[in-house]
Symmetry: C2
Subunit: 311 residues, 2 copies
């Protein structure tokens, strides 16, 4: 039967997604990878890191939706015909969840919680006078859908927030910098750096040794965007040297993070397994189905990725 | 010289406070305990847990200002003549700092960070699908200056928040419950309980076994108010039993928390040394000096504690 949707993810729950999709579009034929049935039936695909070649094997595929905001895994799969449009998910709930995770990490670094954790391990009560948050400038690299929302939440709870992006943007309550010329002044005023950049040719290893050392000494780094945007060798050296005092890392150059990677054992690094934010099926299914309706009625599709730009 | 201010705290920085007070009132004679000089000179006192008897020894004392929001240590000092008015500090920065700490603790519990910390110790990458925050009801006990601000911040970043207080109150975006009759329904809908109550005769051990077991099983507790409001024996039992899955404790029945207290070693408890919020000298000095001016010109004083009510 034509018009089927292929669901292909090793991380997301196929039952929850099937139910959510069928709530929005009763009768939708959902096939869960690797049980494709007749590949010719499949019209659209909803995927997170589908096995290479799987999408290329679908002769009637008309739309690929990425189960998340970062589409670098799809664009890296050169077997996918480039004329098939790729949409990315990114709704208000996903942006809020990411903003909350970033807010947690910023507050944890700002309040020096890692030091209290050390003291707790030693049953040691030691008062450290906190600073007011208006003295702690936070900088967000990448101020698109997710980074912009995070910057707004942080400003809303009392931090001086700046954002840096590829091109000029205005966010209420947030100082913005852009382009190559804006990077140095942005870094110089940033004590806690949040990285929420997409992974593209331009952003690979954008947070390198030079960038890390343009931050004030003892700065803290949070990466919730893509592992490949940070040069991990440079970050390790900066952490050992004290230039970067602490880090919260949700994404890595290699995921899962290998068991022998030094990040795991570093007291000043909080490692979390790429859980900053997810697409919640009950919410995100609405956008998936809206695009299927648009596809079938010839309307313009939403949230389509610019392959040249990379996001 | 009459009109001196006595600063008496073993925790706060006398130099920072002297400078801040003199910025607001140049020429103010600040005496730092235990160097009182002539006790008859002292007109006002700014104190945190002054040694018992110290304030009673000042014959011309006209106003005591508490270096924080919780005045239970002053009211417990029976040597202080009860006709001397007691003011408490509690400005917008203090409320924001407390709200940020509570927000950190709520986000940490909501996102199950303790589990990721365990996984990190084992170099183990294990994905756990997060829930959306709209599914996680937070309840704030004590919705005065600090609790009300915390409830508003939590609602603002996306939690369903309810507040419980002694008497009826309205907070925009927050469902409110009050009095004895309101406690059971408030607890039944609360998955993360934040305690920001003052310590009074009525609130001592208000969070007892009965209250803890009216929360849904696996609830999480954050106490940033006063240690004495929670029955620690009941909390320990509820933590061991799993009724309370996790806790963040900033305040304790005995402070500093004794080195042999079981809380220190509990993986599901985050212990911090009463650092939820402080009075920032540069900000709070304005309120201290404003009251001195009012005292001297016979105007009504601000933020005066009701001794009968206890806060």
């Amino acid at each position: 039967m034509a018009g089927a949707l292929l669901f292909s993810s090793r991380l997301d729950d196929p039952v929850a997604w099937s139910n959510a999709l069928k709530t929005e579009m009763p009768g939708l034929d959902v096939r869960v990878s690797p049980d494709l049935g007749d590949p010719a039936d499949i019209e659209t695909a909803l995927v997170w890191k589908a096995p290479p070649g799987e999408l290329a094997s679908l002769p009637n595929l008309k739309l690929i939706t990425n189960l998340g905001a970062g589409v670098d895994p799809i664009l890296a799969d050169t077997t996918i015909p480039p004329h098939i449009p790729v949409a990315r998910l990114g709704d208000a709930v996903m942006a809020q969840m990411m903003s909350q995770f970033v807010t947690f990490a910023v507050l944890r670094h700002y309040r020096g919680i890692a030091q209290y954790e050390r003291q707790q391990r030693e049953s040691r009560w030691e008062y450290v006078l906190p600073r007011a948050s208006y003295e702690v400038p936070v900088g967000v690299m990448g101020i698109g859908m997710l980074g912009g929302a995070a910057a707004r939440m942080l400003a809303g709870i009392g931090f001086p927030v700046a954002g840096w992006g590829r091109s000029q943007r205005t966010i209420e309550g947030v100082e913005t910098f852009y382009g190559a010329a804006g990077l140095a002044p942005f870094l110089a005023r940033t004590e806690i750096l949040v990285c929420l950049l997409p992974l593209t040719r331009e952003t690979r290893h954008i947070v390198n040794r030079d960038v890390l050392y343009q931050l004030p000494r003892g700065a803290k780094l949070i990466n919730c965007g893509r592992g490949g945007t940070v040069d991990e060798v440079a970050l390790l050296a900066a952490l050992k040297d004290g230039q970067i005092a602490e880090a919260t890392l949700d994404v890595f150059e290699t995921e899962p993070l290998p068991a022998d990677h030094p990040f795991w054992a570093m007291e000043q690094v909080l490692v979390v397994p790429h859980i900053g934010s997810i697409a919640v099926p009950e919410v995100a299914a609405r956008d998936v189905i809206e695009n299927i309706r648009r596809l079938r009625t010839g309307q313009s599709l939403l949230n389509i990725v610019d392959r040249a730009r990379g996001y």
